[in-house]
């Protein structure tokens, strides 16, 4: 079951790399949040109640509900619905994504050890690279936010992959990370001009 959810998570990454409309991005970020909740719930089977509440709030509440809601709000407010015309064409992003998947598989097999599920490792690395690819190839701030949120999800997957219990300190770190993500979206998503091409007042 867990592996099914992990592969479904990887499928969302492939879909996100080819997506053109921000509503699709927002929906799939919600789907990723729910999938991560499922993975965490099934994998972290020795959690104390307090930790379980934290994990539920981090995944289902924040990643599954709050973040997609905020993304939809930003889309409505900024009236930006599609990726920038000058963004790298989807075909090339998809190609880069496929290469990053192959690279992730190679790295995961190279780093193979008895303590780690190789599918977990592959998909977490793939998510990290996918997030970075979206940030580098897209031109709008909202795309960059999506890339950042995917990286956050990758970090969360890495964390879950560590074992069947999530220490409180890691939970604090994850909560802080999510807080920063929400702050970035809430504060900058609405205040900045959506086009990153406009952010050139500070340069050499």
């Amino acid at each position: 079951m867990i592996e099914f959810l992990i592969v479904a998570f990887a499928a969302t990454l492939i879909y996100l790399s080819a997506a053109q409309r921000f509503r699709v991005f927002a929906r799939f970020m919600g789907v990723q949040g729910v999938l991560i909740f499922g993975i965490a719930f099934l994998e972290l089977n020795e959690m104390a109640t307090g930790n379980l509440i934290l994990v539920v709030s981090e995944t289902l509440v924040f990643k599954g509900i709050v973040i997609p809601f905020m993304l939809f709000y930003i889309i409505r407010r900024t009236q930006v619905f599609k990726v920038h015309a000058q963004a790298t064409p989807s075909f090339y992003i998809l190609l880069l994504n496929a290469i990053s998947l192959i690279v992730s598989v190679i790295i995961a097999y190279t780093l193979q050890n008895p303590f780690i599920n190789i599918v977990f490792m592959t998909v977490a690395l793939y998510a990290l690279l996918s997030g970075l690819i979206i940030i580098v190839t897209h031109k709008l701030i909202i795309s960059h936010l999506i890339g950042f949120l995917i990286i956050e999800n990758a970090v969360f997957l890495f964390t879950i992959a560590l074992g069947n219990e999530m220490p409180a300190l890691i939970n604090i770190a994850m909560l802080l990370d999510i807080f920063v993500g929400v702050l970035i979206m809430g504060f900058f998503g609405l205040r900045l001009n959506p086009d990153t091409g406009e952010l050139t007042q500070l340069k050499d």
């Binding site: 780093l111 992959a161 560590l162 074992g163 770190a173 802080l176 990370d177 500070l202």
Partner: protein, 476 residues
């Protein structure tokens, strides 16, 4: 217990400032906070190597960097009061609460004894710095804040993956909870490939804070618009946080077979940082950006020193400490510089020595000191770095470093001498008269420079012992 008291006091001061809404009260609370930070530092030195609370320890390297922060805290608040004197009460209070938070988070990072705890504090510094960079509420400050928060968050997430990889090495779910001492006992069992990947992630991730290549641009842009006292901390004590994170991992892995890999990575990163710093300083148009690139150059030298080993380790820590004092003096002065010249653009400013002799003299001294010209203590650390490079017979590193440093010296000296003694190339059209500044404001900077000058000729035993204890776990 004392550490918890310090964190509680910070929270108390922040809440009191929020509710009192008085500039006078904020000033008093800020000064009391600074006194409590100095008190914590003294307490730490009296309880060296003890753990005040789980996940924290009064280590030598942490306390050395904390001492630099404590020393700079009073001038930072003093210049902050001057910078924000015309701000509304709300913005004045937000600035000082953020400054206290930043200093507290940096203190937590210096004293952390666990990689995850260190990461938590580093991430927290990003939030407080963001509030400080945004202080002026201009479109430029919004852009700089966005770039800072976004790139730092991505970088720090990458660093966190590196930390989590440490957990994979041992197959222990609680690996991210382990203290550095506990990790050092396990490190010999690790697969070197994991260690290499973890080191690269940590180096790239924390280079956002240390201001090293490849994530250096984030701090450069922040400097352009940040208030002068904030630039002083971003360029010094905050970079030290990034350095400490990388130094801790380097020390942890130094007993394994990946030491040469780490050293080569650091030397390469250092040389690329120097190359970028020299290149951009030669075409600099903005004085704060120019000094920000000078910080990149210094961090590049620190990386090269770490990569060169032997006396380089000692030189790296000495350089980090002395750079903190000199570079903060420069950035503290930038507030006055702007008041007098009304611009940071190099072509628009000139005759600074004539219009403000105390400031001109200070700027000249600062540049002499940052370029490691005696009587600057930085001269000693740079000599040790070159000694270490030559001892390792890294001739290419030696030649490239020397050439790039020559370019940096040329770029910095020509531009600053132009500011001091020449007419501006493109005077401001409003024909504004030089603004007024109080020479008394230069006193804290001169005091910091005197300390650096004294350390050129005499390094007290306690300083030598503390630095040697910090690098005791590194291979000789």
């Amino acid at each position: 217990m004392e550490l918890i008291l310090f964190f509680s006091l910070t929270l108390f001061f922040a809440l009191a400032i929020f509710f009192m809404r008085s500039k006078l009260f904020t000033r008093g609370a800020s000064l009391l906070f600074s006194v409590s930070l100095i008190g914590l530092t003294i307490h730490g030195w009296m309880h060296i190597d003890e753990s005040p609370v789980h996940f924290f320890t009064f280590s030598h390297e942490g306390l050395l960097l904390l001492s630099a922060l404590a020393l700079l805290s009073l001038p930072t608040f003093y210049h902050g009061f001057r910078y924000t004197q015309n701000a509304s009460v709300k913005h004045f209070n937000i600035y000082h609460i953020s400054m206290m938070a930043l200093m507290t988070f940096m203190t937590g990072a210096y004293l952390s004894d666990s990689m995850t705890m260190l990461w938590v504090f580093v991430e927290a510094t990003t939030l407080s710095v963001a509030a400080l960079i945004y202080h002026d509420r201009t479109p430029q400050s919004l852009e700089a804040t966005w770039k800072y928060v976004f790139i730092c968050s991505v970088g720090i997430s990458i660093a966190y993956v590196g930390i989590l990889l440490l957990g994979f090495i041992y197959g222990r779910y609680d690996a991210a909870n382990l203290t550095f001492d506990e990790f050092s006992l396990l490190v010999s069992q690790a697969n070197p490939i994991y260690l290499k990947v973890a080191f690269v992630f940590v180096l790239v991730g924390f280079s956002t804070k240390m201001g090293l290549f490849p994530m250096h641009s984030v701090t450069i842009d922040a400097h352009s618009v940040a208030p002068a006292p904030v630039s002083a901390l971003i360029s010094t004590t905050l970079m030290n946080v990034g350095f400490l994170a990388i130094f801790r991992v380097f020390t942890l892995f130094s007993s394994t077979e990946i030491l040469p890999f780490m050293q080569h990575s650091l030397v390469l990163t250092g040389i690329l940082s120097l190359l970028i710093a020299a290149g951009y300083m030669l075409k600099a148009y903005h004085i704060k950006r120019m000094f920000a690139y000078s910080s990149l150059e210094m961090m590049g030298l620190v990386a090269i020193a770490m990569g060169s080993g032997k006396s380089g380790y000692y030189a790296a820590i000495l350089l980090i400490l002395l750079h903190s004092l000199v570079k903060s003096s420069i950035f503290f002065h930038m507030g006055q510089f702007k008041n007098v010249t009304h611009s940071y653009t190099l072509k628009q400013v000139g005759n600074y020595m004539k219009s403000y002799p105390a400031g001109g003299l200070l700027l000249l001294c600062c540049v002499v000191f940052i370029l490691a010209i005696p009587p600057s203590g930085i001269f000693i650390s740079e000599i040790l770095i070159f000694k270490s490079i030559i001892a390792q017979q890294h001739w290419i590193t030696f030649v490239v470093t020397a050439l790039l440093l020559t370019a940096v010296i040329y770029a910095l000296l020509t531009r600053v001498l132009h500011i001091l003694f020449s007419d501006p190339a493109e005077p401001l059209t409003e024909a504004e008269a030089p603004g007024k500044a109080r020479p008394v404001e230069t006193i804290p900077q001169f005091v910091l420079l005197i300390i650096v000058a004294v350390l050129c000729f005499y390094q007290p035993d306690f300083l030598n012992e503390a630095i040697n204890a910090s690098i005791a776990n590194l291979p000789k």
